[in-house]
């Protein structure tokens, strides 16, 4: 016999289901703008039949109403994976182009301390002095221009190094952030494990974990593996494990004496083994910073060092051949530099000559003082001479080529950064289209569940009135 009671229960189950639906709509709408939120959907199912005996003893089945089977989040594993890769690439080029733009400012020819104009000025000072080599004032001016070159090279090296140090500071913050995120992932792993062990889906915790994984992907190469129990395994570049279940490895930074005291990244595994992984990280913001710090800027610094080294060697060679006002030769104008590496930083003028500009070797012939300017003429000719070690071009041409390659590097980096940004946006738009909350959709659902609720309530009302009828029969 199908009782009214059963119908009442059915109506109640419908009201329950639509309430769950409404709650989910509310949840979705509340999170319509939440980063990384995946829209949730209520799956309402049939509660299964109940065997009933009708008057003729035949068994038939009657429905028992509806139940909320589960609430799932809309999720595209494929797109999420694509987005992780896009994030890594985007992070790499964003950091690289930002750092390069800082570096590029060192070549701004409007600035007073740039090397190109300083070299021009030096040779012009030599020509100026060649007009009146006996004049002390002109000699002082020449010395000032030599000092200016040395200072420009020094400042360039210092500032280029400080761009590397800036990269280091960001690097350190990023490494600390990875540790925090690894902590969050390990913690959510354990929560998801607990919840999903009883057959539920931990939608919101999975969202939280995804957000943390995405953020790590912005920072470094990362691979994600979701195990059957719902736990995520996070591996860094080259398979260094970062999170496994509830456990996580630790990243740390340590000054590397072999790299001018800049930071190296170390990985301490779950079992406590420490390995340096600096060079394994190839993408993400950290990859971009490392590329900038250890490859791009050092390349250009090396070029400038080569320029400084060659300049000092060539100028000194000419200067040594001449004689000062005291009739003696063989003096260096700049302190000789032994190795190319760091030449720009160590460049300095000879203190002896700086103290007495009379010692500037303007003359060739010690018997033709003070008017002999032939050595200065030879010195000035260095400006237009080609130098084999500088790819067979002049000092200034070499410098101009460095400017070009820095400019082109910034350009390329910016373009790639924009390209990956666009690609990320496209993937994110696709992801949003699947996982995002559409207010229109939710409004439709809202009406749907409202109507559903109203209908179930109407059934309950009808049953209620029928029961009243029966009660009145009894009276």
């Amino acid at each position: 016999m199908l009782g009214l009671k059963n119908t009442l229960r059915n109506a109640a189950s419908g009201m329950n289901a639509s309430q769950a639906g409404l709650a989910t709509v509310g949840h979705n709408l509340a999170n319509a703008d939440t980063d990384g939120y995946s829209r949730q959907q209520v799956h309402i199912g049939n509660r299964g039949p109940l065997k009933v005996f009708t008057g003729s003893q035949q068994i038939s089945q009657a429905g028992q109403g509806a139940t909320v089977q589960n609430i799932q989040r809309a999720h595209s594993t494929f797109l999420e994976r694509q987005l992780l890769r896009d994030r890594m690439e985007r992070g790499f080029f964003q950091e690289q182009s930002q750092g390069l733009k800082l570096f590029e400012r060192l070549f701004d020819d409007q600035a007073s301390n740039t090397i190109g104009p300083a070299i021009d000025e030096f040779f012009n000072a030599a020509r100026d002095l060649s007009q009146e080599p006996h004049r002390f004032g002109n000699r002082q001016m020449f010395m000032l221009s030599a000092e200016n070159i040395a200072r420009s090279f020094n400042e360039f090296s210092q500032q280029a190094h400080s761009v590397r140090e800036d990269a280091d500071r960001t690097l350190q913050a990023n490494v600390e952030r990875i540790n925090e995120l690894a902590e969050i992932i390990a913690a959510t792993n354990s929560r998801i494990g607990t919840i999903e062990a009883v057959g539920l889906t931990a939608n919101d915790f999975r969202d939280q974990r995804d957000i943390a994984v995405k953020e790590i992907a912005e920072l470094a190469d990362v691979r994600v593996l979701i195990h059957k129990d719902g736990g995520a395994q996070i591996d860094l570049a080259n398979g260094f494990s970062l999170v496994q279940g509830n456990n996580r490895a630790v990243l740390s930074t340590i000054p590397d004496p072999a790299n001018a005291g800049l930071l190296a990244i170390e990985h301490t595994s779950l079992s406590g083994v420490t390995t340096e992984i600096t060079n394994s990280i190839q993408t993400g913001e950290i990859g971009g910073l490392l590329n900038l710090r250890d490859t791009v800027i050092p390349t250009h610094m090396g070029e400038m060092d080569q320029l400084a080294f060659t300049f000092v060697a060539e100028v000194n060679a000419v200067h040594q051949a001449g004689v000062g006002l005291d009739g003696l030769g063989g003096r260096d104008l700049f302190d000789p530099i032994g190795v190319v590496a760091g030449a720009g930083l160590s460049m300095s003028v000879n203190q002896v000559i700086e103290a007495d500009p009379g010692l500037i070797a303007a003359a060739v012939d010690p018997a033709a003082l003070p008017g002999d300017n032939r050595n200065l003429l030879a010195l000035a000719d260095l400006q237009t001479a080609s130098h084999a070690v500088l790819t067979n071009v002049t000092f200034n041409h070499f410098y101009s080529e460095v400017i070009r390659s820095v400019g082109a590097g910034v350009n390329r980096s910016e373009q790639l950064s924009e390209f990956h940004q666009t690609r990320f946006e496209q993937s994110d738009s696709l992801r949003e289209s699947i996982e995002g909350v559409s207010i229109d959709d939710e409004m439709v659902d809202l009406s749907r569940f409202q109507k559903h609720f109203e209908a179930s309530a109407r059934v309950m009302d009808t049953v209620n009135r029928m029961m009243d009828e029966i009660m009145q029969l009894i009276r």
Binding site: P117, N124, R135, D365, G371, L377, I403, R404, V406, G407
Partner: protein
């Protein structure tokens, strides 16, 4: 494909942002008048500008050198011109000294005048400009002729660069103009000294000899001025070439570096129109009717 609200807003935001970036770049170019504000704006142009800048600063220096050479040569030219005048004056005196009606006291007066002119010649030969004795050769910081009228300078000339591998001689050694005691030159001071003695003593033969030597002295001065004139014409030629190069380099750098206002302004106009359109469509997209308005 579903389109969510977030997509609509983010897209509008991105599109407007991109137009704004272009707008700012163009505004920067227009307000500075410079197209290449940093190497990455146009790396090839930046390199060319840097190369031209070097050449330009060298040209500017050569122009200064030309001025200096011009000053030195002009001073030398005027000085030797003045010395020629003095020599002509001496010639007149010598001719007057040869006149038989001259009394010893007249000749004495003439000799005194010669002595004064000799001092004048000395001043000319020891001319000092811009803190240098221009006839001293490389020995330019001391007077080239000492009190006994002996030349103590050297025979060098100061070369000044007025172009890449182009030197002019900006000075002439004193010997070439006033003699330095060697056989190759006429010693003007010895000439005047001898003349003074001859006039004072009234020795006609000597006066005649010195008068002839005066001709050689004058000839020597003319020769020196010819040399200076040659250098000056080279200086002038360099000046013209440098001025031409200067204009050319300036124009070249401007072409690489400066904003083409017409195209920049029209591009800005295009960007502004695009921005306006983007804002208009975005606002419609964002305001766009939703079910919310009907439920």
């Amino acid at each position: 494909m579903r389109v969510t609200e977030k997509q609509r807003f983010v897209l509008s935001q991105l599109r407007i942002g991109k137009q704004r970036v272009r707008q700012i770049k163009l505004t920067e170019q227009l307000s500075s008048g410079i197209r290449v504000n940093r190497p990455s704006d146009d790396s090839i142009a930046a390199k060319k500008v840097s190369v031209l800048q070097t050449e330009y600063s060298r040209i500017e220096q050569y122009q200064k050198n030309v001025e200096a050479a011009h000053r030195l040569l002009t001073v030398a030219d005027h000085t030797i011109g003045e010395s020629s005048n003095t020599l002509f004056r001496l010639k007149e005196i010598a001719i007057r000294g040869l006149n038989s009606s001259m009394t010893p006291s007249d000749r004495n007066n003439l000799a005194e005048e010669i002595a004064t002119l000799k001092e004048h010649m000395m001043t000319l030969a020891n001319t000092r400009t811009e803190n240098r004795y221009i006839f001293g050769g490389y020995a330019m910081s001391a007077p080239p002729y000492d009190n006994a009228f002996n030349f103590v300078g050297d025979t060098n000339t100061t070369s000044i660069a007025v172009g890449d591998s182009s030197l002019v001689k900006a000075t002439i050694p004193g010997g070439s103009a006033f003699g330095d005691g060697t056989a190759a030159t006429v010693d003007v001071f010895d000439n005047i000294n001898q003349l003074e003695t001859a006039v004072r003593l009234g020795i006609e033969v000597d006066m005649q000899n010195e008068l002839e030597r005066l001709e050689s002295s004058i000839e020597q001065g003319i020769e020196a001025r010819r040399f200076i004139g040659l250098q000056l014409s080279r200086v002038e030629a360099s000046k013209t070439i440098l001025a031409y190069k200067d204009t050319e380099l300036r124009a070249g750098m401007a072409q690489l570096k400066d904003v083409d206002f017409t195209s920049a302004v029209s591009e800005l106009k295009v960007v502004e129109n695009a921005l306006q359109a983007t804002i208009a469509t975005s606002s419609r997209l964002m305001k766009g009717t939703s079910l919310l308005d009907y439920l």
